[in-house]
């Protein structure tokens, strides 16, 4: 066996490809029973596996495929017709063969499985045709004679010998033009070789080295036209080589898509549904490692679409739709990324059911839920533990999945979004990068260091001007934000964050890179974009220079455990730039949650009086309240664990002292929400010391758009006014804070 090891491995690889082909052929055969090309292709595949198993002495495999071949032979010869029993047993045979091959791969033996029953049922199915069975209910199977006769005719004309004697290897019929599938396999095996992936990786590394050498060559100034010509040529060849080397990692997404027809068929059968799968763009190419990482998420989305989306045939007919649901799987290239769409024409997602469910699951308060748009409600589908299915099936509906799908896709730098039309269907769009080995990135400078930011997350760049005209960072101390078209976006000073400089030299200089990660938007304050190396005056380069395609190199566990670097890349001059892991950075920066609400206040100008502006917050129970901004000294993000009970009140430790904390809901005499994992503290300066108001979310800062209405004053409220186009309650700080039964100066 050891001598055969190499051949066995080749046999295994080839057979698993053949089995995938078999799945496809069987599905096609179900659509067009008696198709002679398909039958011939299936027969050949099974025959090849049978022949090889005999050669290697795999007796179980031999016996099983022999029974299968016999059945297929009778089918091909028109002795029996295709019915559910025949297809069922053929599918079972494919599964059994796969199982045996897996066992051979892992331990070199055929395993413990007993397939004699299956072999018998294959033989029984083969004998069936002699006595007509009552199992055929499909219209195609019910009226088989013409198709079958036609089939025999075609085969007969194509190759007399094949139909006359079923036993000899049907490879004899291979050269006939009626077998496009076989024809393409032959071409593929002749024009491709199997190469170890690590070899491709080292070629890519060497090409990277060559690119660096090329860059150094180009930086040498010379007047010699001969050297210039060679330099040009090397430049062009290196570019082409790099492009080609990267392509070696690419595979058509068909490698993944080709598995789905079987998944869809099996699932549809088990759920009693009819589903027509349409695949488009299977030749779209994607990095092979990424194809692996999207396999599970896509499988899950397809199962979901069939289980929850597509209705049963009766329901569909009642709704005036065709009996069979249509599931469209489409892949295409779009702006340097691959987009995969999964579209069904099923019932769609019931927005109101989702809203009710979100409230029932405690994900949101009824008041807050009623304000959410349909798109916002759909986002709950990606929350852990959320499922709109009323019945739990063994397929899906257990509420695990969509959150995992989303996080798996996001882990490889992709996005998932969802659109639904109730009654008409749902489209899920998955976008993933072409490859993780190279990516477009923005190279930025920060305290003399060059860092790379994956371009996929970059929204826009905002220049800060020292004269404070234009956008500026608003100094809510401890929680800096920038206002972008009415939205408040939290910002992180990269130099401070990385500990590169003790304090930001000036908070009003530099560039803000607006980023979006996992639906959260934040800004990263940097010094500028990478400067052109040769520029003497050190002016930042144009954007086009900083945006480059970088080769991502792993940095190993010692550096990746820091949690803020996704890798490193080698720059043109041989220097190294660390690639920021934005998700990790966001997690570590622990930014306050600022709800992204479009504010009507666009003018929000520099000269505005602070006294007219309010900080809008959402409380744990979903109330929208406002605090005059001039009372606010800072915002903090705390966890429930940070709160400590002292003298019957809650406090949070700050340095050597304590800041007492009051929940806004309790201040308003309402119910206090259950403790949340993370809270936002609005710290107020009062004559008696600072006090923290605990809220769930900081929404916005806005100017009052109406005078204060005091006629609806209630406990703890001063009244209400219009902020950002919405009536908002204003807290009565003077009364409430003075009413608190403790003196903060006593504890600090």
């Amino acid at each position: 066996m050891n001598d055969n090891r190499e051949f066995v491995e080749e046999f295994l690889v080839e057979s698993s490809e053949n089995l995938d082909q078999l799945d496809r052929d069987l599905l096609a055969l179900e659509q067009a029973p008696g198709d002679p090309e398909r039958l011939a292709s299936i027969f050949r595949t099974v025959h090849t596996i049978k022949g090889n198993s005999g050669f290697f002495g795999f007796s179980k495999l031999g016996a099983l495929t022999h029974s299968g071949e016999h059945l297929l032979g009778r089918l091909r010869d028109g002795k029996i017709t295709l019915n559910d029993r025949v297809t069922g047993s053929l599918y079972s045979m494919v599964d059994a063969v796969r199982l045996i091959l897996q066992s051979i791969e892992t331990n070199g033996t055929e395993g413990e499985g007993d397939f004699r029953d299956l072999a018998q049922s294959l033989s029984a199915a083969a004998a069936d045709g002699e006595t007509p069975t009552d199992m055929s209910h499909e219209p195609a199977a019910a009226a088989p004679p013409p198709a079958a006769v036609e089939a025999i005719d075609t085969v007969a004309t194509a190759s007399e010998t094949a139909s006359a004697a079923p036993e000899p290897p049907p490879a004899a019929s291979a050269p006939t033009p009626v077998t496009p599938a076989q024809g393409s396999t032959v071409t593929a095996s002749e024009s491709s070789i199997r190469v170890d992936v690590s070899l491709l990786a080292s070629i890519l590394d060497l090409v990277g080295e060559l690119v660096l050498a090329r860059n150094q060559l180009r930086s040498i100034e010379t007047e010699d036209p001969a050297v210039q010509a060679v330099s040009h040529r090397i430049n062009a060849v290196t570019n082409a080589l790099q492009e080609t080397a990267v392509k070696t990692r690419m595979q058509p997404i068909d490698h993944l898509f080709s598995k789905f027809p079987r998944t869809v068929r099996d699932l549809a059968v088990s759920l009693g549904k009819e589903v027509q799968l349409v695949v488009d763009g299977a030749d779209t190419e994607l990095d092979r490692t990424l194809i692996e990482s999207i396999r599970d998420p896509l499988t899950h989305l397809i199962r979901n679409a069939i289980d929850h989306g597509i209705e049963s045939p009766a329901v569909r007919q009642a709704a005036g739709k065709p009996r069979a649901g249509r599931l469209l799987l489409r892949a295409f290239n779009e702006s340097g990324q691959v987009t995969i769409e999964i579209e069904d024409d099923g019932r769609g997602i019931d927005i109101e059911a989702a809203r009710t469910k979100a409230i029932a699951k405690g994900l949101i308060t009824p008041e807050a839920a009623s304000l959410l748009s349909a798109d916002d409600v759909l986002q709950f589908i990606f929350q852990p533990g959320f499922s709109t299915a009323t019945a739990v099936t063994n397929v899906s509906g257990r509420g695990v999945g969509m959150d995992v799908v989303k996080s798996n896709i996001e882990a490889i730098g992709g996005t998932v979004d969802l659109h639904t039309h109730p009654g008409k269907g749902t489209t899920i769009r998955v976008r993933v990068p072409l490859t993780l080995a190279i990516m477009p990135a923005l190279i930025v400078s920060c305290a003399q260091k060059l860092l790379s930011i994956p371009q996929a997350a970059v929204g826009e760049l905002i220049s800060l001007r020292p004269d404070r005209s234009g956008p500026r960072i608003e100094g809510l101390d401890g929680a800096p934000v920038i206002r972008v078209r009415g939205k408040l976006v939290p910002v992180v000073f990269l130099d401070e964050f990385l500990g590169l400089r003790d304090r930001t030299a000036c908070r009003h200089e530099g560039t803000v890179v607006l980023l979006r990660v996992d639906d959260r938007e934040f800004g990263l304050v940097i010094d500028g974009l990478r400067t052109v190396e040769s520029a003497a005056d050190g002016r930042p380069a144009a954007e086009g220079v900083s945006l480059t395609t970088i080769v991502v190199k792993p940095i190993g566990p010692l550096l990746s455990q820091i949690g803020v670097y996704a890798g490193a890349t080698v720059l043109g001059d041989g220097g190294v730039s660390l690639i920021l892991d934005l998700r990790g950075l966001l997690r570590m920066a622990d930014l306050p949650v600022v709800e992204q609400v479009e504010s009507a206040d666009e003018t929000g100008g520099a000269g505005e009086d602070l006294a007219d502006r309010y900080l809008i917050c959402r409380t744990g129970t979903g109330r929208r309240v406002a605090v005059p901004l001039h009372n606010v000294t800072r915002l903090e993000s705390v966890t429930a664990a940070d709160l400590q009970p002292v003298a019957g009140r809650q406090v949070v430790r700050r340095g050597s002292g304590f800041t007492p904390v009051v929940d806004v809901d309790s201040l308003l005499g309402g119910l206090v929400h259950p403790p949340q994992d993370s809270l936002q503290l609005v710290v107020l300066g009062t004559p008696r010391g600072s006090i923290g108001l605990a809220v769930q979310q900081i929404v916005d800062v806005a100017a009052a758009e109406s005078p204060l209405q005091t006629d609806i004053a209630a406990t703890g409220l001063l009244g209400s006014l219009s902020l950002g186009g919405i009536a908002t309650e204003v807290l009565d700080l003077a009364t409430t804070v003075s009413a608190l039964p403790f003196d903060s100066s006593a504890i600090s």
């Binding site: 792993p554 190993g556 010692l558 550096l559 820091i562 220097g575 190294v576």
Partner: protein, 162 residues
């Protein structure tokens, strides 16, 4: 280098180096190359013992400052040498004050590390032997690196970021 006739199975080939005035050695089977320390890129937020990273023919290699790792100094500011060691597929560069020669030493001349309170989880010393001019501490490269993998970013760096 000592003139030994041939590598005998009872001999261990080691690569010696100096850190903070002490002499150390690692089995040379771990060492893939020796370089002058230059072109090291610093890595913000990395633990103290990590001096930065090095670009080595397409590969990114973390640099471990042996003065800090062994608690023998505040880090090597300039110069010195790099010993590139390979551990289970990952490469690490050990930054040392000076790289010494490769020597063959008889296995039976290696004694247990001096001082009985060596914690194998954090201390990389596995033995000690008398070199020509120095007392040489033998180190296990695995135990130089592995304890660092458990350490997290120092909380001070994180607070400073706020």
């Amino acid at each position: 280098m000592i003139a030994t006739p041939a590598k005998s199975p009872t001999d261990l080939e080691v690569c010696g180096f100096l850190v903070g005035g002490h002499c150390f050695a690692v089995p040379s089977s771990f060492v893939s190359e020796v370089l002058h320390a230059s072109g090291i890129t610093s890595v913000p937020l990395a633990i103290d013992a990590v001096a930065g990273l090095l670009h080595l023919r397409g590969q990114i290699v973390p640099v471990i400052d042996m003065q800090r790792r062994l608690g023998l100094g505040d880090g090597i500011a300039a110069g010195g040498g790099l010993l590139v060691v390979r551990l289970e597929g990952d490469c690490y560069a050990l930054r040392v004050d000076e790289v010494l020669d490769v020597e063959q030493i008889p296995m039976d001349s290696i004694e247990p590390p001096s001082g009985s309170r060596i914690d194998p989880a954090t201390d990389p010393r596995t033995g000690v032997f008398a070199g020509e001019t120095w007392l040489v501490h033998l180190l296990d490269p695995q135990r130089i690196v592995v304890p660092l993998l458990r350490q997290r970013v120092s909380p001070a760096a994180k607070t400073a970021a706020h």
